[in-house]
């Protein structure tokens, strides 16, 4: 029995060259697969580099006309006027206020939903609720924009009659609703990844479900929950259509969500759709604005990376 096994093995292995060539062909195959995968990875790297290159090179031209100091401190944003001012704070305030409103909606609600789905809902309920929630993030943002403009704003005006038709509040609220599934879904995944033996340890001490969820699962999933928040912030900061439609497009340096204002993204839409001559300073403002936006998201991503590293799960 063992003798025949050895002899068949010998036959298969005996010609040394065929063994070697077999290895070589496998080697080539693996090399090809490796390079295909590498190229696929390169596409995204080059896209990012390309975007950075264009934003930076166009912004350099912009900043040769407009001093950086003015860009950061000027309280007016009138790039298309004869008396042009380029104070990014004007647009930044709109972005920050609307994002702030959105996060006030999305973070508490998203977290509560995530805790519920992960720790309280049965598997059947979760299977129904989760896809429905994720549908929310699949709604085109332009639809949300008109929902904010034509439904939420009139609704709010019943309680606040002086609320203007365009305002940051309703845009922010609707944006928050849009972001809920992003936050809840990632936060829930993080909580569900907390190993069962941690939960069992808590239950075995006599803890209730709520105590287990809040005192053990949420702290254990902290870094993942933070990642969910950061992604929510990035989405809020980068959101365009809802704001362009429902918040009005006039630049307005304000911290009051009841006022209309333009955000960085809304401004870029406005200018990109206009007929500005290529190469004019007005045209280049969108690159400076885009660079600002990208730097903001970069800061959030770095913050998220740092938080994840600091509070990484060590189960």
């Amino acid at each position: 029995m063992s003798g025949t096994a050895v002899s068949t093995l010998d036959q298969a292995m005996s010609p040394a060259e065929s063994r070697l060539s077999h290895r070589a062909s496998r080697h080539i195959k693996e090399k090809i697969i490796e390079s295909v995968l590498f190229l696929a990875a390169l596409v995204s790297v080059f896209t990012t580099l390309g975007i950075v290159y264009i934003l930076v090179s166009e912004s350099v031209v912009f900043f040769s006309h407009v001093p950086l100091w003015d860009f950061l401190t000027d309280k007016q944003w009138t790039p298309l006027f004869d008396d042009a001012h380029f104070g990014i704070m004007v647009l930044l305030s709109g972005t920050l206020v609307s994002s702030g409103v959105a996060l006030l909606v999305a973070i508490p609600l998203g977290t509560v939903i995530a805790v519920f789905l992960s720790e309280f809902a049965g598997p059947r309920l979760r299977e129904i609720v989760k896809p429905m929630l994720e549908l929310l993030s699949g709604v085109p943002t332009i639809v949300y924009g008109y929902f904010a403009l034509l439904f939420v704003t009139p609704l709010l005006q019943r309680f606040m009659p002086e609320l203007p038709g365009f305002n940051l509040l309703s845009a922010g609220l609707v944006m928050g609703i849009m972001i809920i599934p992003t936050v809840s879904s990632i936060a829930e995944d993080a909580m569900r990844a907390v190993p069962m033996n941690l939960r069992e340890g808590s239950y075995a001490m006599g803890a209730t479900r709520l105590q287990t969820a809040l005192k053990v699962v949420v702290p254990a999933a902290f870094s993942g929950i933070m990642a969910a928040y950061i992604l929510g912030i990035s989405r809020a900061v980068g959101e365009t259509m809802i704001l362009a439609v429902a918040a009005g497009m006039q630049p307005n340096l304000t911290w009051n969500p009841l006022e209309p204002a333009a955000t960085i993204t809304a401004f870029i839409v406005q200018v990109a759709l206009g007929d500005l001559p290529h190469g004019s300073v007005g045209y280049q403002t969108i690159f400076a604005a885009g660079l600002t936006l990208m730097l903001m998201t970069l800061v959030f991503n770095i913050l998220g990376y740092w938080l994840r590293k600091k509070y990484r799960e060590q189960y």
Binding site: L198, G206, A207, T208, K215, Y315
Partner: protein, 263 residues
């Protein structure tokens, strides 16, 4: 071994299982188990994988209630109250307030050492700093971790070594002064030195508390326990004084398992 063993009838009972059946859905994992648990003694549960020893242990603090589709029949009575722990009318949280468990893998919570040990007390609504400090120190001393941990109480528990983490989990389980301490293979994730220290600890703890320990390590059962129960495919095959089980088992299968010819 030479000490005369007291008559079983004279020993006080802490709990006993009677006619205990347990089902995971359609699968019956425990079959008609009757077993005494004597007060302030160590009872070891041994048997090959899948024999139901962990399942049996987890009946005591109703851990099976956490998952749907599980069903108990029969009873585990806790003495002296003579209450059936498995009764549907008995709140599993109440049960877990009186019986603590230490798991196979150390499972420190993402908190400081202090907060880990204080967890059970906080869950019971005890928040006065002075009380917590006293109980935490007492529990850490009982778990032989005080000297190593006293200067780092507010560090993350993850920073402890594996053996220290497990002793911290024992301290956590002790802090609430449980009546029975359930150990589910507490040393299977630890190195021999850490294992030895946990075994030493178990020998000390039985002065204060009744202990039930699941182990796959025969020597460990022989070293730490007063009584041993050998289980096989959901049934209790043999129960008795550990000395008797290891020296002159009544069942051939028990002997085969203990000597390593089976399992």
């Amino acid at each position: 071994m030479a000490d005369p063993k007291p008559a079983l009838e004279s020993l006080p009972l802490k709990a006993h299982a009677a006619g205990l059946n347990f089902h995971y859905g359609d699968f019956q994992a425990l079959k008609n188990i009757d077993m005494p648990i004597y007060d302030k003694r160590v009872t070891a549960l041994i048997g090959p994988s899948g024999c139901g020893k962990s399942t049996f242990l987890r009946c005591f603090n109703r851990m099976h209630d956490l998952y749907p589709g599980n069903r108990y029949e029969g009873e585990i009575r806790l003495h002296p109250d003579n209450v059936n722990l498995l009764d549907r009318a008995v709140d599993p949280i109440e049960v877990r307030m009186r019986l603590s468990m230490v798991f196979q893998k150390p499972n420190p919570f993402p908190k400081s050492i202090f907060e880990n040990v204080a967890y059970g007390l906080r869950v019971r609504g005890i928040n006065q700093r002075a009380v917590l400090e006293e109980k935490v120190e007492e529990a850490l001393r009982s778990a032989a971790l005080w000297n190593e941990a006293k200067d780092r109480l507010h560090e993350q528990a993850f920073n402890l070594s594996g053996g220290q983490q497990q002793r911290m989990c024992i301290a956590r389980a002790l802090a609430t002064e449980p009546e029975i301490l359930l150990f589910d293979e507490p040393t299977s994730a630890l190195d021999p030195i850490a294992t030895a220290s946990i075994e030493e600890l178990i020998a000390e703890l039985k002065e204060k508390v009744t202990i039930l320990i699941v182990t796959h390590n025969m020597q460990q059962a022989a070293r730490v326990s007063d009584f041993t129960a050998y289980m096989y495919i959901g049934e209790l095959i043999e129960y008795g004084w550990t000395d008797d089980i290891f020296i002159k088992p009544k069942h051939e299968q028990t002997e085969a398992y203990i000597t390593g010819r089976f399992g």
